[in-house]
Amino acid sequence: MKAVAARGLGITYGNRQILRQVDLGVEQGSFLVIIGPNGTGKTSLLKALAGLIPATGEIEILGRPLSGYSRRELARQLAMVPQHPTGDFPFTVAETVLMGRSPHLGLLESEGEHDLGLAQQAMEFTDVVHLAGRHLDELSGGERQRVIIARAICQEPRLILLDEPTASLDPAHQVRIMDLLERLRRKQGVTVIMVSHDLNLAAMYGEQLALMHDGRINALGTPEAVLTEPGLTACYGCRMEVFRTGPADPLRVFPVPEAKVC
């Protein structure tokens, strides 16, 4: 049974086709990074998998059709970390993390010891315990991202979907977030699917990469298979250099500024 199996996915906004005939299979407990230029449908694909926007075609989550899940049932299997978590209304960090328990609780049920314990663990896992009483709008970008990931962990999902979780973070924080996701995958067998613009992080952490271009998945496979100079150059319209610093090191990708292809 795959964590995600999608066949012939399509999304159309007005007369613009965002996704065209996308097929995607993700094994349980694997780490998939979706890469590709801006506006190629990465976020839309992620949202479609989470059932947040309607799409044509078939999606199965953990062997069951997406349409067969109720919102609550789906939220117990799959958690989403959005690109711009919002906060006009200042919840505290602890309140935010505990919200992750809502799909597991009845309408009038209060969080019990079990839920509080899980929230505590999630906050320890992402190292935000010391922020528990602070308001979300007082935090830095990296802290807020870790809080939202803690909320997702608190949801006890088997899949976690993240939309550019490392955007606007400094390199140290980027690596911290990625390490955290990798630990989550190793320790708890959670399937991680994330969208990223950072090809080097993708090469370091992704077991599988999906390179999207113009609403399609152009290449799907290991970093070595996907991160090729011709493939990237064709997608991004800018020459890309791919190399290794040592035999055991991950691939490095850099754009080449002078010789523009387009």
């Binding site: 939220a75 919002t86 919200m99 809502s102 309408l107 509080l116 314990g117 949801q155």
Partner: protein
């Protein structure tokens, strides 16, 4: 399993304590409302009357039972409803400054209500239904404005609401210009928000707000999640469309119902949720019951002020709430912009 930190464990006890404190405040306000009035009276005279030690035919007993008690109950129900309505609005529009009166939804219900008055309908169900229709229409218009893109500029939404309100104002003036002199005074008082037009036999109809209250209290947790936006709420298991529609209908219904009897009383739905949010935080499982109690207390006190402000008559209570609320709104807007 890890031991939860103190911040995580404070909730249920705190909810009880806060509600208890607010109930005491409400009881105090009600006691003041019963004790004071244009015909005098004192704080000590209430007990003998309420406990039946004074004959029910005495002047004081009649004033308290037949005049002040219904008035206090009315003020409490209207205040609680408007405050709770404001709170739900702020969630649905995801804007802490949203308020039915400000955004023209009250104006819409006023158009419905005044048209029904001019046709000669009775307050219930005629005027109530007509007011409900009017506010539903303006609300839908507002939601269409708010739905647009993912990040709605909060100021443009407020501006849209203010324009809807202005348009409703023009329509109201148009309706007034069509009406006879005898009706104009009634309509004017109603527009200013006036609790003195109420008849005691209408009291049971106020129970109609109860189902809406229960529904909103039950949906307190989804309300929290909705504050994060439709997509985030959905991703955490909320059936967003269903919950939103339920809340819309319930809120519009209860607000229309009380508006028929109270007229347009503004800013209660802004002032009370805002103050309580500052004091208690954003969790609606605490905030919603607190808003009900706080709104009731607030309008009882405002109404008391309106009744006793000058001796020759009464001020419409809507004037008091606007005099308090509008400056506060400007202050909040100023603070939000900083």
């Amino acid at each position: 399993m890890a031991k939860p930190t103190a911040e995580l464990l404070t909730q249920p006890g705190r909810r009880l304590r806060v509600c208890l404190a607010l109930t005491v405040l409400l009881a105090f306000a009600a006691w003041m409302g019963l004790s004071l009035g244009s015909t005098g009276g004192g704080f000590g005279e209430i007990w003998p009357v309420l406990s039946g030690q004074v004959s029910a035919d005495s002047v004081m007993a009649t004033i308290i039972w037949k005049i002040r008690l219904p008035r206090v109950v009315l003020a409490a129900v209207v205040g609680a409803t408007l405050a709770l309505g404001g709170l739900v609005f702020q969630v649905l529009l995801r804007n802490p400054l949203a308020e039915p009166y400000m955004l023209g939804v009250s104006g819409g219900s006023a158009i419905g209500a005044i048209s029904a008055m001019l046709v000669g309908f009775s307050p219930f169900p005629g005027i109530a239904l007509s007011a409900f229709g009017g506010s539903m229409l303006t609300l839908l218009l507002l939601l269409m404005l708010a739905a647009g893109r993912t990040t709605v500029n909060r100021d443009s939404l407020l501006l849209g609401g203010v324009m809807i309100n202005a348009f409703c104002g023009a329509l109201i003036m148009f309706l007034i210009s069509l009406s006879r002199d005898s009706e104009v005074r009634h309509i004017l008082f109603w527009l200013m928000g006036d609790l003195s037009l109420f008849r005691n036999d209408q009291l049971p109809l106020l129970l109609g707000v109860a189902p809406s209250f229960v529904l909103i209290l039950v949906l307190a947790r989804p309300l929290n999640l909705l504050l994060l936006g439709r997509e985030e709420a959905a991703a955490m298991g909320v059936s967003v469309t269903l919950v939103t529609n339920l809340l819309l209908v319930a809120t519009t219904f209860m607000v229309s119902l009380v508006v028929c009897y109270s007229g347009l009383i503004g800013f209660v739905g802004l002032v009370i949720p805002h103050i309580l949010r500052l004091l208690l935080g954003v969790d609606h499982r605490l905030l919603a019951p607190a808003t009900i109690l706080g709104g009731a207390t607030y309008l009882i006190l405002c109404d008391l002020l309106a009744r006793t402000f000058h001796l020759s008559g009464e001020l419409p209570v809507g004037i008091i709430t606007a005099l308090i609320g509008a400056p506060l709104f400007i202050f909040l807007l100023w603070r939000a912009r900083r």
